[in-house]
Symmetry: C2
Subunit: 205 residues, 2 copies
């Protein structure tokens, strides 16, 4: 019986704040507030504690018979590479509504969301991905403003070398594996940032 | 075939910011940035866009044979009421590590996390709950600083009328129902805020 591992002691420092958004003072201190266990920006003028927390990325894996829908990115980062429709969850929406909204915005596609397929934590960039398996409802899709191209792919056609994000590659690999094995998600995992190359290899990268 | 409903047009306004945390200016405008579709606080002085997004609450449903572990809250809100160990996901940790950390902090309990049991969106307060089913590893638990009391409950003993949050009640009800039906999660849902009482009933509440 193994206990679930606890976070490492050395969590990343909060992203830099310069001024208090409540009172405008520049007397922000990075310290552990009373009763807390992590460093936060605390305003020495008005006392406001500025908490910073991970953001949620919600998206869909839209399926049409044997094919899946991918979008080619029209924006940075990873312009020109392929992805699933996904983006940041907004205040005021549920995770399912957010995933459907992103699919409409990026692929002009209407879906029926079926289940949570992949849940991936990216602790070093303070993100949590939630990708939902979805049934594409019609073929009237097309690129939204953030996509160059939207199309359906059979498994053998997936451009694995031109995927925008590791989260998306992992989601698709899990999906095709599930189909072969008759298994289902949710697949829960983390992706840690790749360690930087040693200095003597950086020029060669 | 029904399309997953899209979010309502009237999303809540962002929480009030007064000063730009980047440059300290008070010239913050609430407007839709170019290429965006939602209102954000934009600094008219330095151009910084201040995005606001939902926060993730992670927690555990620790199980010991037929019993589940609950904590009685030592802090507001809902001081004195019962809950499962849960709290805000922090920058730098995975969802699973965060759920284990909260369980250690609030109940001094070590767990092996088994699966995602409940995923509940609370769009009106900009939160997403993720509750994990977990196996309690030993009986050396006890109240952390935020708990008055920690104990194990059989289903018949659960203090349903003294639960701190609807998310927790829903998580526990799903758990006991799953056990009777031999079903599993994740159970994905939303909780909308109860509508306010009409004015002529407010005095009676």
């Amino acid at each position: 019986m193994n206990a679930t591992p606890l976070p490492r002691a050395g969590m990343p420092a909060p992203l830099a704040l310069v001024y208090c958004s409540h009172c405008g003072s520049d007397r922000l201190e990075l310290r552990i507030p009373e009763g807390d266990s992590l460093s936060r920006y605390v305003c020495a003028n008005c006392g406001t504690i500025h908490y910073q927390n991970p953001r949620v990325v919600v998206g869909c894996l839209p399926v049409w018979n044997e094919q899946v829908l991918l979008c080619r990115r029209a924006i940075e980062p990873r312009l020109g590479l392929w992805t699933l429709p996904a983006g940041f969850l907004e205040n005021g929406e549920s995770v399912v509504a957010g995933a459907a909204r992103e699919t409409l915005e990026e692929a002009d596609a209407r879906v029926d969301i079926l289940d949570l397929h992949t849940l991936i934590s990216l602790p070093q960039i303070h993100q949590v991905y939630m990708m939902f398996r979805a049934r594409l409802l019609d073929l009237d899709f097309g690129p939204g403003p953030e996509s160059l191209e939207v199309r359906l792919f059979h498994e053998a056609e997936i451009p694995w070398d031109e995927m925008a994000f590791r989260t998306i590659t992992r989601t698709l690999r899990n999906f095709f594996l599930d189909r072969k094995q008759a298994t289902t998600g949710p697949h829960i995992s983390s992706i840690e940032r790749r360690p930087p190359l040693p200095p003597d290899l950086r020029g060669a990268a």
